[in-house]
Symmetry: C3
Subunit: 173 residues, 3 copies
C-alpha cells in the first residue's frame, strides 16, 4: 500500500547521480526535470479562527503589520495531515510541519519552511522544504533541500498547487 | 539585457558535476570555490519606521526581547527589489522575499531565510538561501540550498556585503 | 586540537562524489549512511525565564497560541555555545545560531533552522541546518543543507539527541 508509493517517492543521491550522468550524455536541456521520481500528496489545512481550537491544524502566532492590506508579516505555524487522495478523512501518510509568513505588499504571497514527516511502520524519514509561494500563479515550485531516514539526502522540487478544493504538493525528487 | 546575466547566473547540477569532475582530476584545494558562475545583485531595503508604510519594503513583526541591547529576537519580514546596479530606481531583475531575525546578545547579528524570485519574460525561477550573517565581518557567506525553474537544483554561496551605500549579494553557483 | 576535529568534520562535495561512486559499484543499500565524516558537538542552551537575562542564550520571541497545551506556535531564538565535551564551561568550538518553534498539538515537537558557526583562528565557516525534531523519539535527524568557508557546499545529517544531561548533535557529512 503506502510502501510502493514511498518506494517511488524517495530518490536518493546515488540514483540521482546515475540519472544525471545519463542525461549529460544525451545533451538534454539543462532545464530538464524528467525523469524524476514523482508523487502527489494532498494536504489539509484548518486554520485557527478563534473558536475551532479542537480541529485547527494551524494558527497565526503574531499580529499583522500595518504596511499592507495583504497580511504582510503574519506568521502561521502548521501541522497538517497529508493524504494520498483528496479526502480529509483518508489515513494520513505523512504530516507537514513548519511555518509560512506573508511577505508581499501588493498581493497575497507567502514564504514556506517545513518538513514532511513519514513515520509509519513501513517508512520513517523526513523531507525538508523551503521556498516562496508566488500566489499569483497556478502552481509554485519550492525546493526540497534535504532529507533523512528513508529519504536520506534527497533533493528536488515540490510543486504546490492551491486548488481550493484539492490543494496538493507534487514531489519530483 | 537581463538574459545574459541570468545565463551566467543559473548553474545547474549537471554542469556543476562536470566542473567538479575536472577539479577532482586537477587535485585542487578542497576549499576551491572557483570557477563558479558569479553575478552581483544590489538590494534595496526600506524598513518600516511607523510612518513610511507606502515606501517600506520590510517590517518588524514582533517585539524585541529583554535579554540584550542588540535587538535579540526581533523578526523582520522583507520583500526587497534587487537591481543590477546601485540605483534604487533601476528596474528590478528580481525580488528577495523572506525574513531575518537578530540572534546575538553581544552585537548585531542576523539569521536569514529568503528566496530570490526571477519573474520576467526572459526568466522564471527561484534561488533559495539560508544562513547566518556575522555582522562583525565585512562580508558574510550564506548558502544557496536549492532552486527552481531556470535555476533548477542550483547550489552555491551568496556573499552578503553590507556596504551602507551599496549593499549587495554576490552569487557564486 | 580543534583542527583535527574539523578536518574530519567538513566533507566537501568532491569527496562525497567519489565516495558515492564507490558505493554505487558495491551495490550497497540505498539507505547506507556510512562511511561519512562524523563528529559530535554538545550544546548548552539556557532559556530566558524572565530573570536570567545575563546568562540566557535563548529567548521566546512571541506568545503561545491557544490551540494546544504544548506551546504550539511559540518561537524561540537561540545563540548557543557548542563544545567538544559535555561541560558548559569548556571552550566553545562553535556557536549554533537560529530559531525553533513548537508545531504539534498533541505533544512537544519543534522545527529548527540554524547555522553552526566556526570562527576560530584555525577555521572559519558555517554549516546550515534545518528540519523537524520529533521529540517523541530518542534521536532526531535534521538535514545539513549547505555550508560555507571551510565547510563549503557540505551536505549531510545532524542527529539531535536530547539527553537531558548531555544534549548533543552528531554530524555525518
Amino acid at each position: 500500500m503506502a510502501k510502493s508509493f514511498i518506494d517511488k517517492a524517495c530518490s536518493i543521491l546515488f540514483f540521482l547521480l546515475l540519472i544525471q550522468a545519463v542525461l549529460a550524455h544525451r545533451k538534454l536541456s539543462l532545464k530538464q526535470k524528467e525523469p524524476c521520481k514523482r508523487f502527489v500528496l494532498y494536504y489539509h489545512d484548518t486554520i485557527f479562527n478563534g473558536t475551532n481550537a479542537a480541529n485547527a491544524t494551524s494558527s497565526p502566532v503574531n499580529n499583522v503589520t500595518n504596511i499592507s492590506k495583504f497580511l504582510f508579516g503574519l506568521v502561521v505555524v502548521f501541522d497538517d495531515p497529508m493524504t494520498l487522495d483528496q479526502h480529509l478523512l483518508s489515513p494520513p501518510v505523512a504530516r507537514a510541519q513548519g511555518f509560512y509568513f506573508y511577505d508581499m505588499k501588493t498581493t497575497y504571497n507567502a514564504w514556506f519552511g517545513f518538513t514532511l514527516i513519514f513515520n509509519s511502520s513501513d517508512y520513517k524519514g523526513t523531507l525538508n522544504n523551503m521556498g516562496a509561494g508566488m500566489m499569483g500563479e497556478e502552481t509554485r515550485d519550492l525546493s526540497v533541500v534535504g532529507g533523512t531516514g528513508d529519504c536520506f539526502m534527497a533533493r528536488g522540487i515540490a510543486t504546490f498547487r492551491t486548488d481550493k478544493l484539492h490543494p496538493s504538493y507534487t514531489y519530483c525528487l
